[in-house]
């Protein structure tokens, strides 16, 4: 079983490296995040030029806030897309193999259904790691070329130091990444249950967006949904707080309990969704 898993994973990676869908998941978030950085820098430069020309620059200007704030926003945009794309990819991948008949060859010749489920799960995680790495490297590099990074200073007074910013940024990114496995397993479950790849893709994206809306409606109960900690369109993740923090806002309220929940709530949900998929895959026709 283990050897068939590794061989099937290797074959899956072989296909993944040559697939447009995989490339899209890895490159698109980084591309859009970098485009956002460049666009913001142009708008900032334009605003500063305008203020200089009309004498608007003066007291109250916060140095360094634009650089850090824009970088965090770019990370958030990229992670929002990664969350959506990974859930969609996980849903599409297995269902598409079912549609095309590729899965049949694998199941007859090499691996059990559950082994293939685990192969898809691991492959989606590898794609996630690759897309996050590409996002972080490209955005950081892009931002480093555009701005000078340092402490956030207002009127000569340091609001927040560089090391503190980096600590918060690391924590924000880590907490934003933790719910991604749950999003992937949700996609896989949808993939197992769906009749075809289109249905799977639409359902996975629909559920992700519905959870995003739902978390705003159910109030405190949303703390128990993994989607509350995903960076998303209606963002309530810790990375949003980091974005405000690095801009020098002093009213950012950080609830330690929420941070704890962020670390622990997504895991049992990911396992539960995986167990459902594990149970269902042997009962569905291929």
């Amino acid at each position: 079983m283990i050897s068939s898993f590794w061989v099937a994973l290797r074959a899956e990676i072989y296909v993944g490296l040559r697939s447009h869908a995989s490339r899209l998941v890895v490159i698109l978030p980084a591309l859009i995040a970098c485009a956002q950085l460049v666009l913001t820098s142009m708008l900032t430069a334009s605003r500063e030029a305008s203020e200089t020309m009309f004498g608007g620059m003066g007291a109250g200007q916060i140095e360094g806030a634009d650089a850090w704030g824009t970088l965090v926003d770019a990370y958030a945009t990229g992670l929002t897309l990664i969350g959506l794309l990974l859930a969609g990819y996980a849903a599409w991948s297995l269902a598409n193999d079912k549609d095309s008949g590729v899965l049949r060859h694998l199941l007859i010749r090499h691996a059990s259904r559950r082994t293939m489920l685990m192969v898809k799960l691991v492959h989606a995680h590898l794609l996630g790691i690759a897309s996050i790495a590409v996002l972080l490297v490209s955005c950081t590099l892009c931002a480093w070329l555009i701005w000078d990074f340092g402490p956030v200073v207002e009127d000569g007074y340091e609001l927040i130091g560089t090391s503190e910013i980096l600590t918060e940024l690391r924590l924000g990114l880590l907490l934003a990444i933790i719910p991604l496995p749950a999003a992937i397993t949700m996609g896989l479950l949808v993939s197992v249950l769906a009749g075809n790849s289109t249905q799977a893709l639409v359902a996975a994206l629909g559920i992700t967006l519905a959870l995003d809306i739902l978390k705003g409606i159910i109030g405190a109960a949303s703390d128990y949904i993994y989607a509350s900690y995903l960076v998303s369109l209606l963002d309530s993740s810790y990375l949003r707080d980091v974005s405000r923090l690095v801009r020098g806002f002093s009213d950012v309220m950080i609830n330690p309990t929420t941070l704890q929940m962020n670390q622990w709530v997504p895991w049992p949900q990911a396992i539960f969704l995986l167990l459902l998929a594990w149970y269902a895959i042997n009962r569905k026709p291929v």
Binding site: S4, R18, S19, S100, V102, H105, I108
Partner: protein
């Protein structure tokens, strides 16, 4: 033959889709080295049978053993069983070479390289074409090429001739024959192309009304049980009266001195003996060999309680 010796043994297989019972207790055995054809009308359950056998569909009851394993464990045969379906299951974004390289990765003991199987199936010039750029026939060739990378013991093919041109059909028929004779690979083929099956199969099963109505070797099928005879004799009316008294004989038509008969389990020599004993002089007696098409038509068109169906 014991079920354990068989490559494929299907016993009392029942499959229901909602209220429709598609398979009503299929019994099917494929022996080692056989090329077994499965024929039936559209919707008779050929593909469903194959999918149940290969573990792609669950079934309500019955027992299926394929190389001694249950369908869910078929992957443990590690390439000894290959299924080629009506729709070629291929990654459409990959090239032919990439698809075959991918398949080779999954093959535990490959015996041929992708280049070799491309040559065997005339795919060499399409090697760098993406699958989506190929015709259905060439996609089918690629899915057959999949099977040839390893050394399968048993290949199940659903409608293998669909989408192939005449040359392609000849290639596939030759390939099946070669694999069968050289490596002893067994086959289960389903097709509507009865003439192709007749030219290649050692055994035929006819699936009708959710059951296997007939399983026979092709040799027996051609000359056996159910035979058509043309008799020319001097007393046709007397001959007809004599022969009609036997329930195993049916007079199909009578024209002047000529009788056309359909018999079950009685050969031409026995008919001749009876006529001569009755003082009827037989000037011509011709046994008409029945093709698979005729046998299939008779079974499909015969009423359920017909002696012809019971005989099969």
């Amino acid at each position: 033959m014991k079920a354990t010796d068989a490559i494929l043994s299907v016993t009392s297989l029942r499959k229901r889709f909602a209220a429709v019972e598609v398979l009503k207790g299929i019994d099917l055995t494929v022996t080692p080295g056989a090329i077994h054809g499965l024929v039936g009308l559209n919707g008779s359950g050929k593909t469903t049978t194959m999918e149940c056998v290969l573990g792609m569909q669950s079934f309500q009851s019955g027992d299926v053993r394929i190389l001694g394993r249950q369908p869910a464990d078929i992957w443990q045969c590690h390439g000894a069983v290959v299924g080629i379906f009506d729709t070629p299951g291929l990654h459409t974004g990959l090239t032919v070479r990439q698809v075959l390289t991918h398949a080779r990765m999954l093959c535990p003991q490959p015996v041929r390289s992708p280049a070799e199987v491309e040559d065997m199936l005339g795919l060499g010039r399409y090697s760098h074409y993406r699958i989506r750029q190929l015709s259905l026939g060439n996609r089918r060739r690629v899915s057959i090429a999949h099977a040839l990378l390893g050394q399968p013991q048993f290949i199940i093919m659903d409608e293998p001739f669909n989408g192939l041109d005449a040359g392609g059909v000849d290639d596939v028929l030759a390939l099946i024959k070669d694999l069968n004779s050289q490596t002893g690979t067994s086959f289960l083929l389903s097709s509507h192309q009865l003439a192709y099956l007749e030219s290649i199969c050692s055994h035929i099963s006819i699936l009708h009304n959710g059951r296997i109505s007939l399983t026979e070797t092709l040799q027996n099928l051609a000359g056996s049980a159910d035979t058509q005879l043309r008799i020319v004799c001097d007393k046709a009316d007397a001959a007809a009266t004599l022969l009609q008294s036997d329930p195993a004989i049916r007079i199909s038509s009578q024209e002047q001195n000529q009788l056309n008969l359909q018999t079950v389990g009685i050969d031409a020599a026995e008919i001749n003996r009876r006529l001569v004993m009755a003082g009827i002089s037989v000037s011509e007696l011709q046994a008409l060999r029945r093709g698979l098409h005729q046998v299939f038509q008779d079974i499909v068109n015969a009423p359920a309680d017909s002696p012809l169906q019971e005989a099969s």
